[in-house]
Structures are given as structure tokens and as C-alpha cells.
Symmetry: C2
Subunit: 339 residues, 2 copies
């Protein structure tokens, strides 16, 4: 990859980067949002009701934004990327609905989750509907290549979710397994979302792969930061929920690092709270102290930064311009959330 | 449709018809079974473990058999139908896994269900995996037309399942809604399974549509009989489980007919047991007596026979031969189960 035009980390805060990306593709995103609402309709009224709850619940639309911007980065001037961005969001929404059932989550984006409000059963089935509908829309688009990328990403997501379930409550989980989980459950869809930008623009394989790398490393960074935030005292001070992963016994990098570096007594603590799920009211604070003692949050964010640098490097395959700058800044957006 | 060569109802018992259909496409079915085992593999060991439990649990493989036989009926001599039959079975298996979670079923085909054995969470996620894998395999096959048929069937299945959930425990459900449920949850996949037989053989639209009609009406008949069997005293005498639909408060045709024809006191009974789900130990027997009193089982099977006759009529678009005879006899197999 060329190093002629190095891309610097954005100096600005993260939220500005998301606003800038959104502004850059605003017309496309508005078309995409209309399409999402239009295509989630069904004569079975509960389907759009439940789907609207999660689709309208104020998500960032990060994944469809990435598809829209990646297509423009590749010089695409048509309209297919709008429909494919909607497909990406449908697949994402389907996985959120199923995740919340699997995690028994009561909240999603600060509001009652669909499963809490409508029950687990319709959440499973409406997830299935949105997933099937995504494939119907891809067929409408007509690219077997896109269908191949998004169907492969979908099975990889499911593999990541199953592996997460298998490693849950198991402190013998390795860092390699943890990485496999987050590359499956998060990075695969980011990679597919950006890669199809090059596909609709009919760009050479090298650009497809560069965008795949950008999305994959960005998604990995995004998830690492998410996993750090779940133990962040700063988040708590902002009034945000922390400790979801802790309560579910998910084995994330902050825990793995603190466990690895801890004393035998501390490992006993982790086994009790995460494996046996025997948690008292002070245990989350104790876990946060251990994670802080071993610099595990800092290191998790450093690893995210490492992946973020790879994402920036991958963008160098493309000419400078507003799209490349916006996509570079989004790397900082994903990481700066950890501040 | 030609009436030159009427097809008579099979005189033989149903099980013979299934054996005959299986024998007719035995080599293809064996290839299909190998492909199913091969393609459900994953580095995440729980996926093939759980999938094997349901895939190997002695299903009839009725839907893939229909795809294989329909392709041969259309004179197809290649191998694509084997892979597509596996896709159909993957989609079916995914819906079974999710159904059992939604219905909280402890048994499936007389064995512990996957959700009872492995838990709800992996059942949801492995269903997602199999569904995604089906689409990966269709992309491998490379027909956008097949992808269109099976993605549309998949969203229709989900719509049927959601509608079933909405009408559950609601004795104001209409016969039209009931038909919409079974056409979604069962008939849509039967129709797709047979239709793609004509698609791989590159046959004219009229034959595609004839096979679609055959599958759709056969699937409707199959589900009507299933719904009758759940209240059948004869089944009970054979040691088979009855009353699952009753316990879940599903509104099926035998109930709808008995409710419609019942006295106000009897309707009160149905409301108590199905809407309020206030069921005592003698209530299933009482329900069976009411259903018998109004001939509701007999009439449900008569309706199935009516759909079965439509399935037979649709087959007349094809020349006589062993495939057409086997597919005609399978209609009787679906209905004769009610004896």
C-alpha cells in the first residue's frame, strides 16, 4: 500500500466526525431511511410496529453510512448503494433483535428493548423477517457478488455470536478466541458494509480488499472500545449504563487482561463473579478497580488504536478528498468514545 | 390445464408413497444428505453439534425430496437440484429451531428438542447460521431466480409465524387469518421447494407455476392434517402426543369450526381454555369431545382433501411417468396420516 499520502488521526472530537460523515451523504441517507421504513412494511401489523421500535430508536446508522460513503469514495454515481445500505441495516437490526433475546437485555440505546416491550417470541420472528427481507432486496439489486459478501458475513456473524455464548462464563477463554468473537459478531458486517461500496462502483479487487480491511479493522476497534466502555468509570459519571457484560459474564479483553495479570486471589474473584455468576452489590466496583490496577482499559483502547491505524492505512489506497477524510475521521470517532 | 390424463388418488397407504418417492430419488437424496452434513460444519463446534441433533433426528426430508423429484419431473439431468434441496432443508431446519424456541417445545419428533437440550440461546443463533448458510449455498449455485424464490418464501414464512403468534389465544381469529397463517408458515416453503425444480430445469413459466400450485396446495393440506392430528383420539391410541396446539392456545381449524358451531356455553369453555389458558386435567378430552360433536376433525380433513385435489390437478401439466405418480401419491401420504 502506498505511503505517499499519510492520513493523520483526526484532531477533532468523535461526534463531529459522525456529523460530518452524515452531512456528506445526507441525501443518500435520507433515501436510505425512507427505503428502510418502506421495506419493513407487512400486512402483519406487528412486524412494522416492532421493527419501527428498533429502527427508529435513534441508532447512529453507522453501518449504512459506511456503505454510502465507501461507494462515493469509489466514485460511484448511481443509486444502488442506497438499497444495499438498507440491506446492511436490516441485517444489523435482525442481529440486534436476536442478540437482545440471547442476552436477555431489557434496554437497547437507553430505551426498553424490543424483547422487553413485545416479548422474546416476536423479536425472534421479526428478526427472521428482516433478515429474509434483506436478501429479497439484494435479489432486487441483482448482484450475486453482493449476495455472496453479505450471506458470508451473515453466517460469520452467527458463528461469532455462538462462540461468544460458548466462551461466556469461561475464564479460560483465550485472547485469540475473544478476537474471533468480535471479528465475527461486529467486524464482519463492517467489512461487508464497506466492501460492497467498491463492488457497486465496479472497482478492482485491490480496492475491494482495501475497503474490506478498512471496515474489518474499524469494526474491531469499535468493539474493543465498546468492551472498554462497559467498565468505564467515566461512562458511569456521564450517567450511562456500565456493567452489562459483567452481569452476563461475557469474557472481554479488559477482563482477560486483568485476569492474566492478576494474583491467584484475584483470579478467584473473577471465577466467582463471571463463571459462577455469584455477584454481590460491590462486585462491579471491585472488578473496575482490578481492571484499573492492571491498566486493562488503557490497553484495550491502545489495541483499538492499533486496529484504527490499520484502518487509516487501508484508506491510502484511495485518493484524498472529502469522503476519504470523513472515513478517516470516523476511525477517531470510534476510538474517541473511550475518552 | 389439460384434463386428458386424470390422476387418481392413490389407493395405497401413505407410508408406501413416502418410501416410493424416497426410492425414486435415492441417489440424489444421499448426495443431498452428505451435502447437508458437510455444509453445516463450522470451526465453532457447537454449531454442527446442535445442527446434527435436529438434522439427524429422523425427519422425513419431505421438502428436499419434493425439490429432487420436481426437478426430475421436469426432465432435469444435472446436479444443481441436490444443492438446492439442501438449501430448502437448511431453511426448514432454521425455522424449526426458531419455532421450538417460540413455542417453548420440549419435544421435536419424539426426542428432546434442541432448545430443551442446548437452551434457547444457541437454538436462535444456530438457526440464524443455517439460514445464512442456505443463502451462501444459493449464491454458490448462482441463480438469482432461485434466490428470489427462496428469499421471498423466507419472509413469507416469518410473516406467517408472526401472524400465528398474534392470533394465538384469540378466539375471534377468522378462518381467513388461519389460512394466511398456514399458507405462510408451511405452504410457502413447499411451493418454493417444488417451484425451483422447474427453475433448474429451465422450464417455461407455466410449469413453474404448476409446481408452485402443487407445492402450495400440498403444503396447505399437510398443515390442515397436522392440525387435525393434534386433536385426534386415534393418534392418542397410537401413543403419539396430542394437545400441543391446545396447550399453547393455537387457533387451528378444528377449534375454529367447533367454536363457530358451538353453544354460548361451549364458546365460554373455548375462551377459558384458549384465551385465558386456564386449563384443567380434563379439558383436552372435553375439547376433543366438542370437536367430535361438530364433525370438526372430519371437516378439517375434508378441506385438506380439497387442497390435495388441487395439487393433483396441478400435476396434470406434466407427462405421466414415475415422478408424476410418486408426487401424486405423496398427496395421499399427506392426507392419509389423518386416518
Amino acid at each position: 500500500m502506498s505511503v505517499a499520502s499519510p492520513i493523520n488521526r483526526a484532531a477533532s472530537g468523535g461526534e463531529d466526525a459522525l456529523a460530518a460523515l452524515t452531512a456528506l451523504v445526507r441525501a443518500d441517507l435520507e433515501s436510505c431511511n425512507r427505503l428502510i421504513v418502506d421495506k419493513m412494511q407487512s400486512p402483519v401489523a406487528l412486524i412494522p410496529q416492532l421493527a419501527a421500535h428498533i429502527v427508529a430508536a435513534g441508532g447512529k446508522r453507522l453501518r449504512p453510512l459506511l456503505t454510502l460513503a465507501a461507494a462515493r469514495l469509489c466514485g460511484y454515481r448511481g443509486n444502488r448503494h442506497v438499497l444495499l445500505a438498507a440491506c446492511v441495516e436490516f441485517i444489523h437490526t435482525a442481529t440486534l433483535l436476536h442478540d437482545d433475546v440471547v442476552d436477555e437485555s431489557a434496554l437497547r440505546r437507553g430505551q426498553a428493548s424490543a424483547n422487553a416491550l413485545f416479548g422474546n417470541k416476536p423479536s425472534v420472528l421479526v428478526g427472521d423477517f428482516l433478515f429474509a427481507r434483506a436478501f429479497e432486496l439484494m435479489v432486487e439489486d441483482g448482484s450475486l457478488k453482493v449476495l455472496g459478501i453479505l450471506s458470508a458475513a451473515s453466517s460469520t456473524i452467527a458463528e461469532g455470536e455462538v462462540l461468544q455464548l460458548v466462551t461466556q462464563n469461561d475464564t479460560t477463554t483465550t485472547e485469540a478466541q475473544y478476537l474471533q468473537v468480535i471479528e465475527g459478531k461486529t467486524a464482519a458486517l463492517f467489512a461487508a458494509a464497506t466492501r460492497i461500496g467498491a463492488v457497486v462502483a465496479d472497482r478492482p479487487l485491490a480496492e475491494e480488499e482495501a475497503l474490506d480491511t478498512y471496515g474489518r479493522t474499524l469494526g474491531t476497534a469499535f468493539q474493543l472500545v465498546d468492551d472498554a466502555l462497559d467498565y468505564s468509570a467515566a461512562q458511569e459519571q456521564l450517567g450511562k449504563t456500565v456493567g452489562d457484560d459483567f452481569r452476563e459474564g461475557k469474557i472481554t479483553l479488559p477482563v482477560l487482561l486483568a485476569f492474566e495479570r492478576g494474583t491467584e486471589a484475584e483470579r478467584g474473584f473473577w471465577r466467582r463473579v463471571l463463571e459462577e455468576r455469584d455477584q454481590g452489590p460491590d462486585d462491579l466496583a471491585a472488578a473496575q478497580r482490578l481492571i484499573a490496577r492492571y491498566g486493562a482499559l488503557h490497553e484495550t483502547v491502545e489495541r483499538a488504536r492499533h486496529y484504527g491505524d490499520q484502518a487509516l492505512a487501508a484508506l491510502q489506497a484511495f485518493p484524498d478528498g472529502p469522503e476519504r477524510r470523513a472515513l478517516a475521521d470516523i476511525v477517531e470517532f470510534c476510538i474517541a468514545r473511550a475518552r
